[in-house]
């Protein structure tokens, strides 16, 4: 069978994009999985109870602060957060950490400032909006318990996510030696990496397909109208699933779009994208996933429309 050079070229371009996304995210996913696995085995429950604030607002702020101290990409953080929740870290703290960690950190702040040619406006708005989203979503979980958020263990007995958590249970009871604990930690890490890695692959395939075969000029069609430009950039952020350290450069390249639309892209992308929704759907209950989708989308849309109409963000 003959394959035309154009088809072959686009297939190879698609493969190159897809592989590059996987390669870029792999170190962070590995880090998140290793931290998660070792956290599960080596951090006792009592220590968590001692350090994490019980008050929801203080807990949410503590989660944002934790994100600044431990910047982690959005792919790697989900594995860790489900461990935190399983270890009874209050949901406001874990959720605020999950949403703020990938954005509110010095690396992303610096890349946003550089991408926007030294103008701090976009960087501050981005940090502020993501911080606000993290707090609001975190506080929305203040009455929830871990079991209201995490999918039940029994539902995944054979093939999925919490098999490794099941395996962890006897360890705390038996208090085994260091060698066994290391093996258990690596087992958890391996399970987490494989489970999250497969979702990363699906997200990378979708993003690469969009990037390779998106019709020319499709996005630029929407740049003149505030409503359409904000919506288009939000959808693009969800589909492209870019890393939070690089997305500012892509946003800055949309020279014809209003600043509010660029902010929508920058604020929503690291908090909500296609692969994240898949990861959440594997780890969390539907109701909680619905909150994770609707609140950020509503907030980003509303804030960016107001900022855009008032021309507060600039170009």
């Amino acid at each position: 069978m003959d394959v035309s050079p154009d088809v072959l070229e686009s297939l190879q371009l698609f493969s190159q994009v897809c592989v590059s996304i996987v390669l870029e995210a792999t170190p962070f996913l590995l880090l998140g999985s290793l931290v998660s696995g070792f956290f599960e085995v080596f951090v006792p429950q009592e220590r968590i109870d001692k350090f994490v604030p019980k008050n929801p607002l203080a807990g949410a702020l503590f989660g944002v602060f934790l994100g600044m101290l431990m910047p982690c990409c959005e792919c790697g953080i989900v594995a860790l957060v489900r461990r935190l929740l399983a270890k009874n870290v209050p949901p406001p703290t874990a959720v605020a950490f999950m949403l703020a960690g990938p954005v509110i950190n010095p690396v992303v702040l610096a890349s946003t400032v550089v991408a926007f040619q030294g103008d701090w406006t976009m960087a501050w708005w981005r940090m502020g909006l993501v911080g606000l989203m993290a707090l609001v979503v975190a506080l929305a979980t203040r009455r929830m318990k871990a079991e209201d958020i995490l999918k039940p263990l029994g539902a995944f007995s054979s093939q999925a996510l919490f098999g490794s958590l099941d395996e962890a249970l006897p360890l705390t009871v038996l208090n085994p030696g260091l060698g066994s604990r290391l093996k258990a930690a690596l087992g958890h890490s391996l399970g987490d990496f494989l489970d999250m890695g497969k979702i990363l692959v699906i997200g990378a395939v979708v993003a690469a397909a969009f990037k390779t075969w998106m019709p020319e000029g499709l996005v630029a069609m929407f740049e003149k109208d505030l409503l359409m430009s904000v919506l288009a950039m939000m959808i693009l952020a969800v589909i492209l699933s870019l890393c939070s350290q690089a997305d500012a450069f892509v946003a800055a390249s949309f020279t014809g779009f209003p600043g509010a639309a660029k902010l929508a892209f920058l604020a929503l992308g690291p908090v909500l994208d296609f692969k994240l929704v898949l990861m959440w759907s594997q780890s969390f209950r539907k109701d909680f996933v619905r909150i994770l989708i609707t609140l950020p989308v509503t907030m980003v849309f509303a804030v960016c429309m107001v900022l855009g109409a008032a021309k507060w963000v600039g170009q």
Partner: protein, 262 residues
């Protein structure tokens, strides 16, 4: 229903996939194709992840998980298959022309002097990203200087009639998925012949104000997420020279002062 022994053996496939992925990453880091995928500054990070992947893969072979799903293993196998397809493209340089990747066997460039003299004038060597920054920030003290900038050519019928073309470089920030092309409209002096599409050139000249500033006319570049032409300035070329395509044509760094990254 599969027996536990069968599941353990099938789970070893996951370990095998991770070892395969680590071999691919090792090969990239130690070989010459890394920059096709990621910014070279991430090499130490990739090398570390290759070591960890190899370790985790070996652990998976030694102590396989007690659960296995064919589609999880299948997705990791898909990544390896895509890596093979992608490498075939990189090796045969398919799709490289539009990004200026058409000379992987070119010799490694040594950093040229920060200035060059041409026809009695001195020009500052600068890359398209750095000049785009100067244009975007409207840096008056730098806008009027003489610059030498290299990149690949995009010809458009509507520009040809005005002796104009677009010069692009592709910027890669983290990975190939976030590449964006930045460039300038270039106007040639009367009588000069237009370069070929996709040809690599160096243009020598100055920035001037662009009529209809802010209007966009940006052809898509396959492989780059989006393409941006300076909306404020046009590059008025004094002269143009062909040059062989660069071995690593992407821009990975930007300097605010001389010597520029070029």
């Amino acid at each position: 229903m599969r027996s536990n022994v069968a599941v353990r053996w099938l789970s070893r496939l996951d370990g095998l996939m991770l070892v395969g992925l680590s071999v691919f990453v090792f090969n990239l880091v130690l070989g010459k194709d890394y920059w096709f995928y990621l910014n070279p500054k991430f090499k130490p990070l990739s090398l570390t992840s290759a070591v960890v992947l190899a370790g985790l893969g070996a652990f998976g072979l030694w102590r396989p998980l007690a659960r296995w799903s064919w589609w999880r293993t299948g997705l990791f196998a898909l990544v390896l298959a895509l890596a093979v397809v992608s490498q075939a493209g990189v090796d045969r340089d398919m799709g490289g022309e539009s990004l200026g990747q058409d000379n992987p066997s070119a010799p490694v460039e040594t950093a040229p002097a920060s200035r060059v003299k041409m026809g009695g004038k001195e020009y500052i060597r600068i890359n398209a990203g750095e000049l785009y920054d100067i244009s975007g920030k409207h840096l008056q003290d730098k806008l009027g200087l003489n610059y030498a900038m290299r990149g690949f050519v995009r010809r458009l019928p509507e520009l040809d009639k005005d002796q104009e073309f677009i010069i692009y470089r592709v910027a890669l920030y983290c990975c190939f998925a976030d590449t964006t092309a930045v460039g300038f409209k270039v106007k040639l002096p009367p009588g000069a012949s237009l370069p070929k599409n996709a040809e690599w050139v160096v243009v020598y000249g100055q920035l001037t104000g662009l009529a209809g500033a802010g209007e966009k006319d940006e052809p898509a570049i396959p492989g780059a997420v989006f393409a941006s032409i300076s909306p404020y300035n046009l590059f008025q070329a004094d002269r143009l020279e062909s040059e062989p395509p660069l071995k690593t044509p992407f821009m990975y760094e930007w300097h605010e002062e001389e010597p520029y990254a070029y």
